[in-house]
């Protein structure tokens, strides 16, 4: 991947990462590393903790995520995240907007490529 391609991907991700994090929690609670793995397994690349945690923090502060810290039997405990009702509503609304945007982008790009 060229540096320019990597930069472009990073910019795309920046615009949609909060929605991706919300979506990764739509089926139930999870913790930081597991969320990063889910997104990596979906083909979005390895998202560093330094990028992910500030997003988790902002979503929590906005009341879209609720957290619960749980002790581990061995080693440090983890903070678990789950969607709040408001988070689920935001995911539905903003997710639909993103999909509409994606559809417009797709239509233009498809038209451009077919010429």
């Amino acid at each position: 991947m060229s540096p320019m391609t990597a930069d472009r991907r990073a910019s795309w991700l920046k615009g949609v990462l909060d929605l991706l994090v919300l979506a990764s929690l739509s089926e139930g609670e999870s913790y930081g590393y597991q969320i990063a793995r889910t997104l990596a397994d979906a083909g979005l690349g390895q998202i560093k903790g330094g990028t992910l945690y500030p997003v988790l923090n902002r979503l929590e502060e906005a009341g879209l995520l609720a957290t619960e810290f749980r002790a581990a039997e061995r080693g440090p405990g983890r903070r678990y995240y789950r969607l709040t009702d408001e988070g689920r509503r935001t995911l539905d609304e903003e997710g639909a907007r993103w999909l509409a945007f994606d559809e417009s982008v797709r239509a233009v790009l498809t038209k451009g490529r077919s010429r």
Binding site: Y33, K48, G49, F69, G75
Partner: protein, 247 residues
């Protein structure tokens, strides 16, 4: 790794993040690295920058924090761990162990959190190594007394916000907590060693041993007297302190 998290924790605190939130965040990030196997700086970026990103929206301290309660107390080696954990449950955080072996503690004025403690027998040269071994489980050093090293850990590291105390009990009345075992130890020491010394003087009236018997006798008597004297001084000081408080 611990240097990174100490730096991060200090920056979060300075930005006004509550203590239990700091402890839980650091624990969570340590768990993340346990899974990813990466280096903290590589994963999260420089501590200063990362702390800044985590504290967007955190309330900076409005002013100097209100001074917490301060309390200095001591216990013998048989009772120290039990007492430390008892008072840790009441929100007392050990800041250091002073040169007299007393635990210098503070307690936050508002919703203090609970602490737990452990003691290790460690040679001074090994303190750093033991500290590094305990750090991943959230323990940090809080004082030493000869070969005893004390470590504290906020309960928030285990139970999160539930570690906060809504209504902490008043400060304990006493400052000296000697156990029954300690008094028994002193009694046995005096009852066994003093007659032994007197007996030795009768058995070896001269100085026919390989080393000077008078010196040995003097040393043992001195030790016994020193131990008894120290106990008396501490008890008298405590009684005076109580009397002053009662006025």
């Amino acid at each position: 790794m611990s240097g990174y998290f100490e730096d991060l924790a200090a920056r979060l605190r300075a930005a006004g993040v509550p203590e239990q939130r700091v402890a839980a965040t650091v624990d969570d990030l340590r768990a993340y690295l346990g899974d990813s196997g990466t280096d903290p700086e590589e994963e999260f970026g420089p501590a200063a920058e990362f702390a800044g990103m985590l504290t967007t929206g955190a309330e900076p301290p409005a002013a100097e924090p209100a001074p917490g309660e301060r309390w200095v107390w001591t216990a013998d080696i048989f009772a120290d761990r039990r007492r430390l954990n008892e008072f840790g449950e009441q929100g007392w955080e050990v800041e250091t162990v002073d040169h007299l072996g007393r635990f210098v503690c503070t307690r936050a004025p508002d919703r203090p959190q609970r602490w737990e403690y452990r003691r290790e027998v460690v040679a001074p040269a090994d303190r750093e190594r033991v500290g590094e071994r305990l750090a991943p489980d959230g323990w940090e050093p809080c004082g030493t007394w000869f070969f005893y090293a004390y470590y504290k850990r906020p309960k928030a590291a285990l139970v999160g916000p539930a570690a906060e105390l809504d209504a902490p009990p008043p400060r304990p009345a006493g400052r000296v907590f000697f156990s029954g075992r300690f008094y028994l130890f002193v009694a046995v020491y005096l009852l066994v060693l003093v007659p032994l010394v007197i007996g030795l003087r009768h058995v070896f009236p001269g100085s026919s041993l390989g080393w000077d018997l008078e010196t040995v006798v003097g040393m043992i008597v001195g030790l016994a007297a020193g131990l008894a004297g120290t106990t008396v001084v501490i008890l008298v000081a405590e009684r005076r302190h109580r009397r002053r408080q009662g006025r």
